[in-house]
């Protein structure tokens, strides 16, 4: 699958000074959040972590229609990639993926779903909903480089 186009940045950046990609990592496990944060920083990314889907949506400014329309919270336009765990209490990674793909602001942003379980129906469900990739945990540095490589100009 080809990489999706990245949502256009709200600020103009000169080509000689590319901004590091901003990745939003969502995982309910504190251990995994710490690890993914470092994996991403090692790949020269700016990282924001969220412990559940709701917090992720709040950060992205996708919680209510009004906010979206007014573009009050422009975090959504700054994020270049979302990496989310599948199994989370409350809102699953799949449900978060759906909400992102349904939003006008964020639908072009690649969303990668990660899971410790290799379940084909789960994988297909995510890919059909528009996930860029589905990856198995635990993530390795080479996995992250693969994901973020195309984001860096």
């Amino acid at each position: 699958m080809d990489a999706c186009g990245v949502a256009s940045s709200s600020s103009s950046s000169s080509s000689s000074n590319p901004k590091p990609p901003h990745v939003l990592a969502v995982d309910d496990s504190i251990v995994d959040r710490k690890i993914v944060e470092n994996l991403l920083k090692n790949s020269a990314c700016k990282v924001t972590t969220a412990e559940n889907g709701m917090r992720a949506l709040e950060f992205l400014g996708l919680v209510d229609e009004q906010e979206q329309q007014n573009n009050l919270n422009s975090n959504g336009t700054k994020v270049n990639l979302v990496i989310t765990d599948y199994c989370m209490p409350g809102m699953t990674g799949y449900e978060l993926l759906k909400k992102i793909k349904e939003s006008s602001v964020m639908k072009e942003v690649p969303v990668v779903v990660v899971s410790s379980e290799n379940i084909p129906t789960r994988i297909n469900e995510c890919l059909e909903e528009g996930a860029q990739m589905f990856m198995l945990k635990p993530l390795k540095p080479s996995d992250v480089k693969k994901l973020t490589g195309h984001l860096i100009n």
Binding site: D28, S29, I30, V31, D32, K34, I35, N38, L39, K41, N42, C87, S116, K137, P138, K140, P141
Partner: protein, 154 residues
């Protein structure tokens, strides 16, 4: 003990943990993420893992002590523990969790109790081994040496 000797001891010790299946390749991957800009990364992750595991083990003990056991909840806790132990490379805890989840699915109380004991034992083992490992690393650094990188092709 001079630094070279300490470094050799550390490598031997680390190697033994891999041989015994206490740690797996994932732990090595984490060590490789550690550098000058991030010198305490492994210790920090492991410390989070210890706190998180202890919380989960307490929750599991409580959950299995109820008159009516909620196996879905027990399974959910074990799933979390399995995930985090897999993330840091604590292979034996992870494997014990796999067996545990099977008993949850069967709603087998005795099997679950036995697995809980097993998981607790494996956790204590990993905790002791890692604490020893970190102590050895600290001694090397205090003596002015650097921590040698483990090179294994697993």
């Amino acid at each position: 003990m001079e630094v070279g000797q300490m470094q050799r001891r550390l490598l031997e010790y680390t190697k033994s943990l891999f041989m015994e299946g206490v740690l797996d390749n994932q732990f090595l991957q984490l060590q490789q993420l550690q550098d000058e800009s991030n010198p305490d990364f492994v210790a920090e992750v492991v410390s989070l893992f210890f706190a998180d595991s202890e919380r989960l083990l307490n929750d599991l003990t409580r959950a299995l002590d109820q008159p009516t056991i909620d196996f879905k909840m027990v399974d959910s806790h074990v799933h979390q523990l399995k995930g985090s132990s897999s993330s840091i490379g604590a292979e034996r805890i992870k494997n014990a969790c796999v067996a545990f989840r099977n008993f949850c699915e069967e709603q087998n109380i005795e099997g679950c109790m036995s697995c809980l004991q097993q998981v607790k034992q494996e956790y204590c083992l990993v905790k002791n081994k890692l604490e020893t490992l970190f102590r050895m690393e600290q001694q090397i650094v205090a003596a002015g040496g650097s921590i040698p990188m483990m090179e294994l092709s697993f």
